[in-house]
Symmetry: C2
Amino acid sequence: VDLTLPSWLLTQTAAYATRLVTDGMAAIDARGYHYRLLSALEKDGPASQADLGRRTGIHLSDMVAAVNELAAGGYVERSPDPADKRRNVVTVTPAGRERARQLAVRAGEIQEELLAPLTAAERAQLTGLLSTLLVHHRAQQGNPPLPMP
Amino acid sequence: VDLTLPSWLLTQTAAYATRLVTDGMAAIDARGYHYRLLSALEKDGPASQADLGRRTGIHLSDMVAAVNELAAGGYVERSPDPADKRRNVVTVTPAGRERARQLAVRAGEIQEELLAPLTAAERAQLTGLLSTLLVHHRAQQGNPPLPMP
DNA sequence: CAAATATCAGATTTACTGAGATCG
DNA sequence: CCGATCTCAGTACATCTGATATTT
């Protein structure tokens, strides 16, 4: 194995990250998508599914199932938009806000586990470098730029 | 989207990396596995499939198909080990050495595309940070430590 | 009629799990 | 009998493609 081949390092570490997220979220009956969606809804308010997809980077095709799951848990409500009958407006419920806090805590624990061997400075370096790559490749592909924090 | 959530940044950039590798290798009828296997064989000589799996991090279940593909192209030969009849010894052919050079060139181009927005120093930083993470998590999981370059 | 929205069905890639057969 | 090796079949997850229906 060539430990200096960046594409390999990236996909391998991502595999561990995916496992940490999947397992960590599954332990509380959740998925990574749930955290992303509830966070987005709490931060910027109710939205159509298409809007949520643009905010969170989740594909429209996968949005249906994810919103179904959240709705089944009582964490969001899906109601038709009276102003535009194509749209569903997705809104967080009080239970959803509680759930969002729970998922945020869990997400934090997962990051800690993922980045355990790195110092705070190194973690900042890593996120900076990855952000640069991601912004570049999204633009390269004609994707709409992400809303920057 | 929380652009500072490392697990998300990691899996997203890895998705782009995977696409670059898959597409870039498919253009010359290859896969990432082929490059990894031929490189390992050229560097450390013939090996059993189980050994190759340990060297390259490729799962034993996926090794069969990968070696089949390389053998079909005439790049490796699979012969039973007379000393241990459980084993197949995989050996590179001259055509395989030529192929390895071709794949190495292509791999380099792919890395360049992947890391385009980063300076040389930043690239070194990134590989260093990812290596640290990977070594940590492999050890954490009881995996055999990787042979370090 | 073009574009946006929501839904559904399915393909793709990497990685992994489990089962079997054979051999040491 | 345990353990290693090889093979095959199938799973899991995230992502993306394509098709359809509805509405703007």
